[in-house]
């Protein structure tokens, strides 16, 4: 492609290395690698204050963002943190039962034809 030389690193990067926020952990605690569009939501039964002290500010911010259904990509973008870092932090919250993964409709890896038709209708309606 020959375009590699056009790539310019605009950011010299954050002062604190991203994985410092995870205590150096680069793998999610449960070993589950969430897809970018995995939908997550804060567990509704979760207590608000009890363990707030144990949670890092980043954990708490994620919990706040997950009060409505969002995706991993949304959270990473809102947090302005690399996806890999957010994966690790999310896994902590999932393990603690503070956040749940919303199951995909229609099961399976690929969406059903009906769902595709819904997407098609949605596009037409834009």
């Amino acid at each position: 492609m020959g375009s590699g030389d056009k790539w310019v690193d605009r950011n010299s990067g954050p002062v604190v290395r991203p994985y410092a926020l995870t205590g150096g952990r680069t793998e999610p605690a449960d070993g589950e690698v969430l897809d970018l569009i995995t939908v997550i939501v804060a567990a509704r039964t979760a207590g608000e204050i009890d363990d707030a002290i144990r949670l890092s500010p980043e954990h708490r911010k994620i919990l706040g963002l997950c009060r409505r259904q969002v995706t991993l990509a949304d959270v990473a973008s809102d947090m302005a943190l690399p996806v890999g870092v957010v994966r690790v932090l999310l896994a902590d919250l999932i393990q603690e039962g503070r956040i749940t993964v919303v199951p995909r409709r229609a099961g399976g890896q690929q969406p059903s034809t009906d769902l595709l038709k819904e997407v098609l209708h949605g596009l037409h309606a834009l």
Partner: protein, 209 residues
């Protein structure tokens, strides 16, 4: 922020889809995504692959083994339950390792072609063919680029006759919308024609929770 706790109940579960927007560096991927959706930045901190190490000058950075890849994505909300995400692929060859993640679970892909640099599309065509991910080619009509018939582009890229190739203006929401519609229709028609089409493991009875 006013919707606290309401989404999970009345509106039912949110379903997210993604479409991958591929194409060479400068083909207009970000323009296309921003024409039809709110664009948001996304960073990944990725391990440097051995391929990328040869491209990156690592002298003086000691044990650096990761690199930050900055990307954009678009989010299109369709009613209360459906959200469509558009992910642009990083345009550089050395970021190939990102493609697997981006394409995992994707509905399909749009290869945005710049007729001045058609050969930039070859890696994308190869990749999606190998992955059996349904794709279409959208030829971005730059003002100063020669205008080709889509049929010629199809020949130049040696596309499977079933793969649609359409003209588009990546700056125009209406045009981009038509591109996405073409892709979803292509996915649907390749399903109904069955046989050797992609979707080898279409889960008719996917009982995974």
């Amino acid at each position: 922020m006013g919707s606290t706790l309401s989404d999970g109940g009345a509106d039912g579960p949110l379903t997210a889809f993604k479409i991958v927007i591929a194409g060479g560096f400068g083909a207009g991927k970000t323009t296309l995504v921003s024409a039809i959706s709110e664009v948001r930045p996304l960073n990944t901190e990725e391990a440097l692959s051995s391929a990328s190490v040869s491209f990156d000058d690592l002298s003086g950075v000691g044990s650096k083994t990761t690199t930050t890849v900055a990307m954009d994505f678009g989010r299109i909300t369709m009613g209360a339950r459906l959200v469509l995400y558009l992910f642009g692929t990083p345009g550089q060859e050395r970021f190939w390792f990102m493609w697997d993640e981006l394409c995992f679970g994707a509905l399909g892909a749009v290869i945005l072609a710049d007729t001045r640099r058609l050969d930039d599309c070859f890696p994308s065509v190869d990749y999606f063919e190998k992955r059996q991910l349904p794709f279409i080619v959208a030829i971005n009509c730059f003002d100063d680029a020669p205008h080709y018939d889509p049929a010629d582009v199809r020949i130049a890229l040696d596309l499977d006759p079933r793969v649609p190739a359409v003209l588009c203006d990546a700056r125009q929401a209406g045009s981009v919308k038509q591109v996405l519609i073409t892709l979803v229709e292509h996915i649907l028609s390749s399903r109904s024609s069955g046989g050797s089409e992609p979707w080898p493991t279409q889960a008719a009875t996917g009982s995974r929770l």
